[in-house]
Each structure stands twice: as structure tokens, then as C-alpha cells.
Symmetry: C2
Subunit: 420 residues, 2 copies
């Protein structure tokens, strides 16, 4: 008669989450670059910084609908003695001036129009009176002086030639798309989409389309991970289910690695599970990076290398799988896409409700932030049974609960991480 | 000699932004439903609420690795006089028990395993001693009493049968995907992707691939809008550039409407522009909803109906186009996808820097939020020339600056809206 002994492979050294993150990230190299049409670059990540190829605006641009004039010409203008200028041209946006503005001259100009040589100010339409037909004024009167530069956006005042506008690794969203277009990038250098394989383990797992059966649950981690991988701009590769046979499972891992940049598995890493991934990752050609992390949920989260290819074995528990993905997998997918600092930025927020549970390890709970009168509060999205998929819905942050002898009270500042 | 008169079509009645939003949204009906495989539902919106088709967990599930027992059997157990139970079965997760647990019996059970009939508690492995071989214990000793229910997740304790888990209109992300899978939804009812047409106007516009030319700039609104439309789960339909000819422009609008659920145009709505959209939207078969909004930027933003089809004519100014999209277009795209309340939720935040500019109208400036020690500050992403595409990059909120005789000081509370 004896206490249950732990087999040697289960005797594990627990790392801090940040140590585990560092060990993983050291193994990751950015993927190769591909060039895609601008409209296909959306939600991809820039593989090269965007450098302005010319100043913007590229010409002196009118900020108003009005008249381009020479400020010196109207220095003596008053309401009683307005100055009359000859209108020599009409310049809608997109039309290049055909002549310079000389002394006593003006050009009708629209918002966005190119200010002609010689002119150094634009007087808004409402501050002028015209002489002649409305559509075709021949003369315009100005009744007060203006400062040189009025309503003119100088060449390069928005973007200087050669300025770095967006760093490599940036996600191409609305603003990035606009800037890329303004700079003439009809094709964009983006990181190749990472291929992220997903292998599921667990005798209890049914396919989503299968009817319920006793002791069985449907595989919810697979679509959850696939959704997060897509969200991260990568391509999920569905590799199926690991059989409960070490050799066949090992062969499937080998096949998965041949098709993917990163291999994820779910389940089979806990002590006491039918722990096929523990066996597979004990193979001689596989180098274990770690197999225990001092955190909850997800302490048996494991990472390993086969040659230079990374395998991250996540817990099969949906809550732990979710947390493990955000802490360890998402940074890898971002680094593969040339993101220099792939970690979420922590912030301090007030805990909305007390967290009475005593915690021996750092705990990450799914939370939702709420801003009231300039204060940020974070609330757990449910109770913290890490198996509750329902608490993932609506979670927009992870709340860190430090190891504490007593719980936390409502209103205490805690650290949280925004979920992308 | 006279002040510039405004032609009648330019005499406009300015609505408040919220009035304009309401007028638009009244014209929008949710699109039809389509059923797609779960893995293709990512980033789509549910067209029907997700109702739990069965309780979850669907069986009494063990929350621990240990032994399923009858609590009554060990009521008298002490460290000195442990109770010995016969181990009648071993239950990994996914394996249905073959027999009920009788008096004096126990079953070895793994985390996630199905608790057999008769058992009403699971004692964790570490709190037991086994008798016999490690792999095949025949007897187990328990040395203290346990409460009934210990380490057992009851049927339905996470999700009750028939509970509404996710409302219609919800975006299918990670948590939603997991829940849909757990509930057996191999196909998901989602809203058809809205088709959103984009017509550009403006003589000054070059295609992104064209070399710069005097007075010209590249069309940055088109890829910006396309990116935001995709982000919203809709499909951008590129309709090209509106010619400066009212009949041809009208024909293009007609063709666009035949292909789209919503038609956007950019430019051509300001007084003083070569205002082709003003002309097109004056056609007898088109009903104007509004053509002026009391806001900056984007006051000439216009909306109209042709039969029951919505046309939103955005300003050509990139900043105004961006703001107009978020205030008026995105809610339409969300409503088309069955979102009940499609407006962003405002929040109060502290202004990070002063905003000295005097404002006759409500102004929306692009901003970025920053959380420091539980306080939310918002900062304009640049100066507020609304043409600055650079201020769109990195903007994660719109800051509302109310019409004020004096500016705002740093540290004042302002209203802001998160950008999705």
C-alpha cells in the first residue's frame, strides 16, 4: 500500500509564464515575405516598414473653396476700400494651373485644388465678392488683409519625404490601407500567412456533427482555436484527432509538422489524462522546452522542438486552452508575421467584484472591461471554472490574479491584458 | 457685384448626427439567412440566437483525477482508521461506466470522466492510497469524510437546456465558435454577407498604381473603405469612378444599386466641389434623407433612397470619410447582419491634452485610448486637419468635442466611442 507515485515523466519543473514565453519566442523566426495587391493586404501584417516615397501633399493644396491670391496684393484692403483682383483661371481639384499668379491677379480654386505659382494664400469664398456672372467671375474683391500661407497646405506638411509611416509587423487596417494607397503601393510586402496545425486529443471528443453519446462531449477547442488563428491572420490546418497510440500519434505529429509553421495540440498533457502527448513529446528527436508553468489554468501547457519546428501542447480544458493560446501561441503567430514585440500590453484596472478565492499560483481569468466616468473596471465573465466556455464569450481581457494568501477585494487595482 | 449666392440645391438643413443615424437606420432591414459550416462562420454574425439544445455538461462529469465514491461510505473515515473501498472499474474520459457504484465500491476516474451511477463524490488522487499495482488498483483507502457533490460537475451546471447562450447578431469569434461546437451546430445560420458598393468621385484621383501627376492624389478612400467593410464582415464591391457627367454617373449609380445592398460614394457632395453626387441625388426617383449634418468633419454627408435602396454619399476628405463611415455606414452594415443595437457604446474618458480650438459644431476627432493606473485617457492621434490619413492609423476611438465657446482643457472628461 502506497501513495500514488508519479512516473518520472510527470515530475516537472514549473516555469514562470514569462520564462515560458521567452523560451518559446527564442525559437521563432519571421516568415518569408510575399507581395499581394493592396486590397488583399487587409488584415495581413506588413513585412517591411512603409516609408513615404514622396511628400504629402505632393503639391501646395488649397484647404478651402475660394481664391488663390498674393497676400501682398491685399495688404491695404479694407471694407471701405476693397482691393479688386483679376481672376485669371478656375482650378477645380485635379486640374493643374496653366499659369502663375501675377500682381493683381487671383485664381478661383476649390478645396483640394493645386495652388498656382505666385499665389501664397487662399481667401475663402464667403470672404469675397465677385464681379461678373456667378459661374465665370472676371474680378474678385477682397476687403481685408490676409497672412501669407492662409488655407494652403504646403508640400509635405502632412508627410515628409522618406518618413517611416508604419513599422514592419503592423496590421493592415483602414488607416494603413489609406496610407499605402496615398503612397502608391499597389502591391504590398506582407508576411506569408503562418500555417498553424491543430491536432486534437481526447477519447471523449465527438466531432461537432456527431450526436451526443454517454461520457462524450463535442470538440469545442478545435473551432475555438481555428477562430483565434484566423483572427491572428494565420491559416488553421486541421490535422484531425491524435489516436491513443504513441507510434501513430508520433507519425501524425511528423506529418503535421511537414505541413505547418507551428503545430498545436490540445489535451493529453495532464498528469492522469490518457496522456498521449506526454508520450509523443518524450521521443528522442524532440527537445522539450518546458512542460509545466506556474499558473492556472493551463499549468501542464508544454512546448517542444522537433528540429527547429515548434510544437505547443495546450491543455484540453477549454478555458486553459484559451488562456494558453493567448499567452503562448498568439505571440508566436505575431512574431512569424514580423511583429517585433508580440505581447499584449498590460494595463491596470479596478476589480469590479471581489475575488475571494485563495490562489497558490498566478491565475488568469477571462474578464470584460467596463469604463465608467473615466475609470476602468474589469469583471470576471463568469465564475472561474476553467472549463466554462461560456466565460470566453464576451471576454475582452485576461485579468491576472496574483498568488495571494487572502483573496482580492472589489476596487483593488489589478493587472489585465487586452485580448486582440 | 454681389456676395456669392448659393444655388438652391446647396441650401441645406443640418440634422444632428443622431437624427441622421435614426433616419438611415429606419430604412434598413436585416438580410436573409444562410447556413454555413461552423468553421466558415468565423467573423460572420449569427442570424438566429444560439439556444442550448441540451444541458452541458450532458453527464455528471468528474472535475478531478481520483476516485468516484459514495460519500456515505467514508463518513467515519479518519487518518487512523481509513475506509477501504473496492475499485470496480477505471473510467478515463470518454468511457461510459458499465456498472453502478454500490456500497463499499469506488471507480478510478480521470478528469472529465463520466461519474457512474451510485457515486456522489470524487476524491482527488492525492488524497487516496491505493492497494495493488499502480496501474490496476484493486482497493483504495480514504482517510477523511467528504461532502456529497465533491468534484462533480452536475448535468447542466454550466449550461441549462434551452438557455439562450448568444443573441442573434453576435459576431462569431472564439468563444462563440466553442459554444456552437459544444452544442452540436455543425452548420450555423448567419446573415448573408452584405454587399457594399463603393463609387469614387473626384477629378483629382489617381488609381493607386498610377504615377503622381500635378494636382493629383491617389484614391486612398477606396482601400480605406474596403478595409473597414471587410472588417465589418461585409463584401466591398468596387464600382470604379463616377464620371463628371450626370447621366453617366446616374447610370453607374443604378448599376451599383443592382449589385449591392448598400451603395457608398465618396466626394462630390460639398458646396463648391465639382459636385456630381449633388446632381445625381437630385434625380426625381431619388428621395433625399438629408444632405447636411451639424458636425465636423463631414457636414455635407448625404443619404438618399432609390426605391428602398440606401445610398450614403460620404465626403471625399479622408478624415471626414472615416468619421462618416463609423457614424453612419457601420451601423447599417451591422443592422443588415441582424445586430439589434448597431451603435458603438460611448464611454467617458479624460482628455490627455488640451483642445484649445473653438468649435461651432460638434466635432469628432480620431483618438487613441490609454489606460494608466485605472484611469482612461484619450489623446487625439494628431492635429485635427481632417485630411490627415496619418491620424487614422492607430486611432481606436472617436473623441467627441462639443460645440464650445472656449476650448477643452487637459484632464476634462469627454465622451468617446470605441472603434471596432
Amino acid at each position: 500500500m502506497q501513495h500514488e507515485p508519479l512516473p518520472e515523466r510527470f515530475r516537472r519543473h514549473a516555469l514562470l509564464p514569462e520564462e515560458a514565453q521567452r523560451l518559446i519566442l527564442e525559437c521563432v523566426r519571421p516568415l518569408e515575405i510575399e507581395r499581394v495587391p493592396l486590397l488583399e493586404a487587409w488584415a495581413r501584417r506588413l513585412a517591411e516598414p512603409l516609408v513615404a516615397p514622396h511628400p504629402f501633399p505632393p503639391f501646395r493644396r488649397s484647404g478651402m473653396d475660394g481664391y488663390a491670391i498674393r497676400a501682398a496684393d491685399v495688404g491695404a484692403a479694407t471694407a471701405e476700400r476693397p482691393i479688386t483682383l483679376e481672376v485669371v483661371e478656375s482650378l477645380p481639384s485635379g486640374v493643374e494651373p496653366t499659369r502663375a499668379i501675377g500682381a493683381g491677379q487671383a485664381a478661383r480654386i476649390m478645396t483640394g485644388g493645386m495652388v498656382p505659382e505666385g499665389a501664397d494664400a487662399v481667401v475663402m469664398l464667403e470672404a469675397t465678392k465677385h464681379v461678373g456672372k456667378a459661374d465665370e467671375p472676371h474680378f474678385v474683391q477682397i476687403s481685408k488683409p490676409v497672412l501669407p500661407g492662409l488655407n494652403i497646405a504646403d508640400i509635405g506638411c502632412e508627410i515628409q519625404n522618406g518618413a517611416t509611416l508604419i513599422p514592419a509587423g503592423a496590421l493592415v487596417q483602414a488607416g494603413e490601407s489609406a496610407l499605402l494607397a496615398a503612397c502608391g503601393y499597389a502591391t504590398v510586402a506582407v508576411a506569408r500567412r503562418p500555417r498553424v496545425g491543430i491536432l486534437s486529443t481526447g477519447n471523449e471528443l465527438l466531432e461537432v456533427g456527431e450526436p451526443l453519446a454517454p461520457a462524450k462531449i463535442r470538440n469545442s477547442n478545435l473551432p475555438m482555436l481555428a477562430a483565434m488563428i484566423r483572427e491572428a491572420g494565420a491559416e488553421p490546418i486541421l490535422l484531425g484527432q491524435v489516436p491513443d497510440d504513441r507510434d501513430r500519434a508520433g507519425a501524425l505529429v511528423t506529418e503535421g509538422l511537414s505541413r505547418c509553421d507551428l503545430l498545436l495540440t490540445t489535451g493529453g498533457v495532464s498528469v492522469g489524462d490518457y496522456d498521449v502527448m506526454v508520450d509523443v513529446l518524450a521521443a528522442p528527436d524532440i527537445r522539450l522546452l518546458f512542460n509545466k508553468i506556474a499558473m492556472r489554468p493551463g499549468s501542464p501547457t508544454t512546448a517542444a522542438l522537433r528540429k527547429d519546428q515548434l510544437i505547443i501542447a495546450l491543455s484540453g480544458n477549454p478555458g486553459a486552452c484559451f488562456v494558453g493560446y493567448h499567452l503562448f501561441v498568439l505571440p508566436v503567430i505575431k512574431r512569424l508575421q514580423h511583429v517585433d514585440n508580440p505581447y499584449a500590453t498590460p494595463f491596470q484596472a479596478y476589480l469590479g467584484v471581489g475575488y475571494p478565492k485563495v490562489n497558490a499560483y498566478r491565475r488568469y481569468i477571462r474578464g470584460r472591461m467596463n469604463i465608467v466616468d473615466g475609470l476602468v473596471k474589469v469583471w470576471p465573465t463568469g465564475d472561474d471554472k476553467s472549463s466554462l466556455m461560456t466565460t470566453i464569450v464576451g471576454a475582452d481581457c485576461l485579468i491576472e490574479i496574483p498568488p495571494l494568501k487572502s483573496g482580492l477585494e472589489a476596487g483593488q487595482l489589478v493587472t489585465a491584458w487586452r485580448l486582440d
